[in-house]
């Protein structure tokens, strides 16, 4: 949870890895191309899952524990299901839910953080102390507690992840609004005759939107990890759903059959890594200082 926070604070200072590497837009950097490429591939896989998958992801029609081979590229699992098909269909759970999670926690966090920063006083205190309360727990533990309380179900896991992740946005937005509100550029706009709402929309919003989007892109990876983690622990997706986290869990029971958990694990790894690359790139692209430095 602190990793994206650090990255975003770097984004605000215009920090960028390897100033000297390459010319052109931040989207032309190698890591950006890899990140975007992987995300596009996984998105296509999600859209075309029924076409790509050779088998029904929950059909138990093949022999058990077949090693990867020509018929079953990723082998079969303990119930004779095709692991490749299950990984492919797993995208249809993971990707939309991750997007939903991030959009929801971004919306909740931004509104609450914006209110706290703009209004201050008691509103600020109440909102931020609740955020601190959430921060005080390790994310996965709190999410486990929430899911356990609501009942192990994918929907409840989603709610739990939203509850755990809105405070980063609230804290980020509050800080940005607070520092921008008393900044000289807002004061000088106010002296020119801008109302405080205009200042919020015209002067403060562009300074908040960039970091929040970057945070969101970086947080996508986090959200996927957290959600898969809950499923891994049996608190999220329930069998027989093809979900990467629960597939890894199933594989870990039959540890010598490495393919059952390796492939969904690799899927999680590549998606999370790709979203982090995209987040880094977004940060560079949205900061006019680095964008210009790269173009020069």
């Amino acid at each position: 949870m602190t990793a994206p926070a650090v990255a975003v604070s770097r984004a605000r200072r215009g920090w960028r890895r390897g100033q000297s590497q390459g010319v052109g837009s931040p989207w032309r950097q190698p890591l950006a191309i890899v990140g975007v490429g992987v995300v596009v591939v996984w998105t296509l896989v999600a859209l075309l899952a029924p076409v790509i998958a050779p088998a029904d992801p929950i059909a138990q029609t093949s022999p058990l524990f077949l090693a990867p081979g020509a018929h079953h590229w990723f082998g079969t699992d303990e119930l004779g299901r095709d692991v490749f098909s299950r990984v492919v269909f797993g995208t249809r759970i993971t990707l939309p839910l991750a997007a939903l999670l991030v959009a929801a926690s971004m919306a909740i966090g931004s509104v609450l953080g914006g209110l706290a920063g703009l209004l201050g006083g008691a509103v600020d205190t109440v909102i931020m102390r609740i955020a601190d309360l959430v921060f005080a727990f390790p994310g996965i533990i709190l999410a486990m507690a929430v899911t356990a309380a609501l009942g192990p179900q994918l929907r409840n896991a989603v709610i739990a992840v939203i509850i755990v992740s809105w405070p980063i946005y609230a804290r980020l937005v509050r800080g940005l609004v607070l520092s921008a509100r008393t900044s000289q550029y807002v004061l000088s706009s106010r002296l020119l005759g801008a109302s405080s709402w205009r200042a919020l929309l015209v002067d403060i919003r562009p300074n908040v939107a960039g970091p929040v989007l970057v945070m969101g892109a970086l947080d996508l990876g986090n959200a996927i990890l957290l959600l898969s983690g809950l499923s891994f622990l049996g608190l999220g997706a329930q069998p027989p759903a093809a979900e990467w986290g629960s597939m890894v869990a199933a594989g870990s029971i039959n540890f010598d059959k490495w393919w059952i958990s390796l492939f969904p694990g690799l899927a999680i790894l590549t998606v999370v890594l790709a979203f982090n690359f995209v987040g880094d790139t977004l940060r560079d692209a949205l900061d006019p200082r680095t964008a210009r430095a790269l173009r020069a």
Binding site: Q184, L187, S188, R190, L191, P206, N207, R289, R292
Partner: protein
């Protein structure tokens, strides 16, 4: 003389006090300041750091509420900023800030920033399009700067952009709060001369706040010297420089280094500026004053007009007898 000045003043402060801090430990940063500025006049406001000149400047434009007294701009009372838009009549009263890195929004293009000044006074769309480039040329920058971001400019250039932004609001009075102290020497002269030109050509009333006495001497028509929240002397720059009345002014003026190296040794002021939270009784300058008498520690000197041939006012019991 005094009456004429008051009649034509565009900005007038009377008895302005600015307080900071919680009620228990109230610090009076500015104490009963009276001053006025006429169109086309540059009033230099000088003093050490912490003497309240910035607080006074902020109170003049309404960024800081006046605890007592009032500021009037063109006959209209200056009110502190609220959540709403600033009253239209006050918008020709503008401020140039000290830090040109903080006063321009880093995420908006220079053209947009300047066009704000036009839009917010309900200027036409065409004017919002054309004026920024004109103003940039006016302040000595290339017109194509409209498409750049503030971080692409140096400190001096940014300060000129900030000035162009206030000019878009058609100011009649500009309070410049240490506009040159964050700049390097060559940029300082450019910005100071720009402000002087604006005052002389456009008839803008200018309050130029600075601790740099040599620059103030160059551009200010009148100078007000502040010490610990109060004005101790105010008058035409040349006269104050040539023949300072208040002992504090005397010490300040003698502290300016001279290029010929022949200047008299500065008057040495004992001690430091006292804590404004618990100012000395009587004359606030008395603990450091070479002329202090017993009554200075009990009686508060008021800013009093000197005889007409001196053309100024000073607050000193010893040098300016109250009955003069």
């Amino acid at each position: 003389m005094t009456q004429l000045r008051e009649r034509t003043a565009v900005l007038e402060a009377s008895g302005v006090c600015v307080d900071y801090g919680p009620r228990r430990r109230r610090v009076r940063a500015v104490d009963s300041v009276n001053l006025s500025v006429r169109p086309g006049e540059v009033l230099g406001l000088v003093g050490e750091s912490g003497c309240g000149k910035s607080s006074l400047g902020r109170a003049l434009v309404g960024l800081e509420p006046a605890a007592e007294g009032s500021v009037r701009f063109a006959g209209q009372a200056v009110t502190p900023l609220s959540r709403r838009r600033r009253p239209e009549l006050l918008r020709p009263l503008q401020m140039v800030f000290q830090d040109p890195y903080g006063s321009l929004n880093p995420r908006r293009k220079v053209g947009e920033l300047i066009a704000d000044g036009v839009r917010l006074r309900n200027g036409s769309r065409a004017e919002a399009q054309s004026l920024p480039a004109e103003l940039l040329e006016r302040v000595g920058l290339a017109a194509d700067a409209v498409n750049k971001y503030p971080h692409e400019f140096s400190g001096g250039q940014r300060q000129r952009i900030a000035i162009a932004r206030t000019l878009a609001a058609r100011p009649r009075c500009i309070v410049a709060d240490e506009p040159i102290s964050a700049l390097d020497a060559s940029a300082q002269a450019q910005v100071a001369n720009l402000l002087l030109t604006l005052a002389k050509e456009d008839g803008v009333a200018m309050v130029f706040i600075s601790h740099d006495l040599s620059v103030v001497r160059q551009i200010a028509d009148r100078v007000a010297v502040m010490y610990l929240g109060g004005i101790v002397e105010i008058g035409p720059t040349d006269a104050v420089w040539a023949d300072p009345t208040h002992p504090y002014t005397e010490a300040l003026v003698s502290a300016i280094p001279r290029a010929d190296g022949l200047g008299a040794l500065p008057v040495d002021l004992p001690g430091d500026v006292p804590d404004p939270g618990s100012p000395p009784s009587g004359c606030r300058f008395h603990p450091r004053c070479p002329l202090a008498e017993d009554r200075c520690s009990t009686t508060v000197p008021l800013l009093t007009d000197l005889p007409p041939e001196y053309d100024r006012a000073a607050a000193c019991l010893v040098r300016v007898p109250a009955d003069s």
